[in-house]
Symmetry: D2
Subunit: 147 residues, 4 copies
Amino acid sequence: MRHDPARLHAPAYPWSITMETRYADMDPNRHLNNVAISRFFEEARVRFNWHLLTAGPAISRPRYLVAHVSVDYLEEGHYPGTVDLGYGVLAIGTSSFRAGMAMFQHDKCIALCESVLVHRGETGPAPLPGPLRDRLQAYLFNTGASA
Amino acid sequence: MRHDPARLHAPAYPWSITMETRYADMDPNRHLNNVAISRFFEEARVRFNWHLLTAGPAISRPRYLVAHVSVDYLEEGHYPGTVDLGYGVLAIGTSSFRAGMAMFQHDKCIALCESVLVHRGETGPAPLPGPLRDRLQAYLFNTGASA
Amino acid sequence: MRHDPARLHAPAYPWSITMETRYADMDPNRHLNNVAISRFFEEARVRFNWHLLTAGPAISRPRYLVAHVSVDYLEEGHYPGTVDLGYGVLAIGTSSFRAGMAMFQHDKCIALCESVLVHRGETGPAPLPGPLRDRLQAYLFNTGASA
Amino acid sequence: MRHDPARLHAPAYPWSITMETRYADMDPNRHLNNVAISRFFEEARVRFNWHLLTAGPAISRPRYLVAHVSVDYLEEGHYPGTVDLGYGVLAIGTSSFRAGMAMFQHDKCIALCESVLVHRGETGPAPLPGPLRDRLQAYLFNTGASA
C-alpha cells in the first residue's frame, strides 16, 4: 500500500483528461462510489487508447484485453464538480503494457490505478506492433519505471 | 500476475453467494464489462458484511473504508445467467482486513479480487473490535494465508 | 397520472420475474434510485423477449427498437431484498406493441411502466411477424386493453 | 407518440447543459443505451435544481419526489462525444411541476423527456413555496404550455 510519491502529482502524468462527475456516481454515503471511480479510470483508459490512435500517422487499431486493474482509494471524492485523470505508461512488455493513472479533485489525489492491457491477436496475446510500441514510449510516466 | 491456484476453486471459499447477471452488465463487446465485474465484487463485499453481523449474537455495526481493490480478469463472463461469488478472509490486521474473492460462471473462475477494508473510527482507522475479529476468523480462506 | 387499478396487482400480470436488488441500485437518498428502477424494467423487457423466443417452436429472433418508456414512481423501494416484476402485453399494433410492467416489493406496487417496442426491419419499422404476434397474444394483460 | 414540434429544437429550451458521454453509456448495440439516456435526463434534472437555487437570492432548498418520467427515443445516440440537454418548465401546479427536456447530439434531437416533480413536505406533497414558484416561471418552455 505504499505509493510512489511521484504518482500523487498531476503534472507527472504525460496525458490527462478532465471529466464531469454525475449524481449517479454517488452512493448512499453521498460521496463518489468506489466502483464509480473505477468507471472514471475505465473512461480514461478508453479515451487514451483513442487518443493514441490519432496522435500521429494512421496505425491499425489494436484490440486489448484488460487483464488486471487495481485501485487505491486515498480520499473521498465529491459531486458535483469535475475530476482530473492523469495517465502514464509505467512499463511496456512484449505483448502487454502497464498503465498508471491517478484521479484528482481540487488538486488532491483521491485514487491511484494500475491497469495491465494485453494486446490481443486472433488466438491470444500477441506482440505489441512496433508503431504502437513507439507511440506508447512517448507517454512513459516521468520516473521512467521499467517492466 | 501469478495466482495462488487454491484461489481458483469455488469450494475453497468459506462463504459464497449466487447473483443474476443483468443485460446492463454487458458492454459493447457483448460480454460482462470489467467494471460491472467490480460491481459484483462490491455486492459480495456488502452482502458478506451484512452476513457477518447476523452470523451470531448482535455486535455493533462497524463502518469500513475500502482502501484497495484489485481485480484480475481471467476469462470472459456472459449474460444471461448467474455468477457465483466466493469470499474468504485472507488476512486480519490491527485495524483492517484483506478479503479474497473469486467470481465463477459455469464453474470456471472468471475473475479474482482482493480488497482491503479499513475499520473506521471517529477520527480515522481504529482497531477491529474483538467480537468482529473473532467472527472474521471463522471465514479465513482455506490455505490460511497470514498478514 | 391516474392508473388502471388492475395494474397495481401482481397476479394480473401473465408473466413475472423476481430479481435481486443491488447496493449500487441505491442513490444518496438510500432508496432504490429512479433510474435504477428503469434498469429493472429494462431487464424484465429483455428477459421477456428471450422467454418469448423459447415459449414454443423456434421463431426467428426479432429485433426491436424501444421507442417509448414511461415510469410512474409510486413508493420507495429498498435494498437489500428482491423485487418482483410483472409483465403483460397491453396492446398489439401493426409493427409495434405496448407492454405494461409493474414492480413490487413486499407485495406493494412501487412503480408502473409502459414501453413501446417497434419491430425493426432492414430499413425501418416492419410488421410484426405472424408467429410472434400469436405468441404475444398469449401474454395480453388481463383487462384486455386494446390499442 | 406525436410530439410538439417546438420540443425538438434546442433553442426553444430556456436552460441547457452539455455533457460528455461515457464508454459505459453504450450497450451491446454500440449506441447509447436507453436507460443511460434516462441517466442524462436525471443529471439535467439534478443540475437544473441546483441552478435554480443559485439563480437569485437564497431560497430554502426544496425536496422533490420524482413521480413520473417518460422518455421518447427518437434517434440513436453515439459515443464518444457530447450531448446537449435542454430543459424547460412545461407546467406549474399547486405542489408539483412538469419539466420538459430534450437531448441533442450534433443538433439532432435524439430523445424527449417529461418529468413530474412533486414538492415534498414533512408528511407528503406540499404547496410549492412562492419564491420557488416565481423562479420556475422564469424557465417556462417557450410555447407557454399550461397545466
